[in-house]
């Protein structure tokens, strides 16, 4: 594999170059467009209540992100990908916690600010306004 006159190995033989696969990339693309199309149809039909729609499209998006991790990024437990997989698994909870906790902390803001003004209890505008 290594030319004795040229000690640098051929970079095109590297495992991360050779892991590219047309079938995985085409499948990932079709799957993403198709499922986002399904999510769009569910949303546009307005035949379901908002909460089930939200749960359904959120589930589809999580499925798509996992599919992309496998079909696009080629993540697995091989020697060349193990630390990418581990670092992603460790980052996902941070991603979810940072969004989830922030939204949860402020989730009561909308209803409270939307309360009608009561006599003797004027609501002050917030900096968000």
């Amino acid at each position: 594999m290594t030319d004795p006159h040229n000690p640098e190995p051929d970079p095109l033989r590297h495992a991360e170059v050779q892991q590219a696969g047309a079938i995985g990339y085409v499948s990932g693309t079709i799957l993403t467009i198709a499922l986002l199309g399904v999510a769009l149809l569910i949303t546009e039909q307005k035949s379901m209540q908002p909460t089930p729609v939200l749960v359904t499209i959120s589930g589809l998006s999580i499925f798509l992100l996992v599919s992309q991790a496998i079909l696009f990024f080629g993540l697995d437990v091989s020697r060349y990908n193990i630390w990418k997989s581990v670092s992603l698994i460790l980052t996902v909870p941070l991603f979810i916690l940072s969004i989830g906790l922030t939204v949860w902390m402020f989730h009561a803001l909308g209803p409270v600010m939307a309360m009608p003004e009561m006599p003797g209890m004027p609501l002050q505008p917030t900096t968000l306004q």
Partner: protein, 210 residues
């Protein structure tokens, strides 16, 4: 100590030297991957801010999110960004066999589709500006523009990266450094598809049902 000195045969290796060869490509892709994970946390901050501000009260009397987003029109952006990612990914399939023309063709198609995506986004922004829905109108609109435009900015930098890579490939071919850059750009470009899934679902589809 003495027991070791009297031991016959070669000493057992303390480290497997054959496995410690420096791998410049894997080192760079892992480093870039870690950068992308930190970039994902920037998006987490923006999604969190948008999640807090995406309420009618934060529209401050201006347009609500349901009034400014167009999920069907944004689906064209979805097709554009995913087609661009596919074109670039297939360019790296051509890289496996050292097919320089295939790589350059894939990158060129990815650039064109990436520009189409940005064109659609700017067109959407222009139509919102035309009706007075500017970022300074409300906290909701500020969060909307910043989140969507940050993804668009990533797309622009990706296109710039491709434009820089094309002459390098034509001049030097597939050296170790250029192959590492091509692999890093593949990670970056595919990452844009994943971020767009979140933007499309969290902003456009969720906004339509609010």
């Amino acid at each position: 100590m003495d027991a070791h000195a009297k031991r016959e045969g070669p000493l057992p290796p303390m480290w497997h030297y054959g496995e410690t060869e420096h791998d410049p490509i894997s080192t760079k892709t892992l480093g870039f991957w870690l950068y992308m994970l930190s970039d994902a946390l920037i998006f987490a901050g923006l999604f969190a801010a948008y999640g807090v501000l995406a309420q009618p009260m934060n529209a401050a009397g201006g347009p609500t999110i349901a009034q400014i987003i167009h999920p069907v029109a944004a689906f064209l952006q979805t097709i554009a960004v995913l087609s661009s990612v596919l074109a670039y990914s297939l360019a790296t399939v051509a890289l496996k066999t050292g097919n320089r023309n295939g790589v350059l063709l894939g990158i060129t198609i990815a650039i064109v589709l990436g520009i189409a995506f940005i064109g659609l986004e700017l067109s959407d922004f222009a139509s919102l500006f035309a009706v007075g829905a500017t970022p300074d109108r409300s906290g909701l609109l500020s969060a909307f523009y910043i989140l969507v435009a940050t993804h668009g900015l990533h797309m622009m930098f990706g296109i710039l990266w491709m434009l820089v890579l094309i002459p390098q490939i034509m001049r030097s071919g597939f050296t170790t450094a250029i192959v590492a850059r091509l692999l890093n750009l593949r990670l970056f470009w595919q990452f844009q598809a994943s971020v767009w899934v979140c933007v499309y679902v969290f902003v456009y589809l969720r906004g339509a049902i609010q």
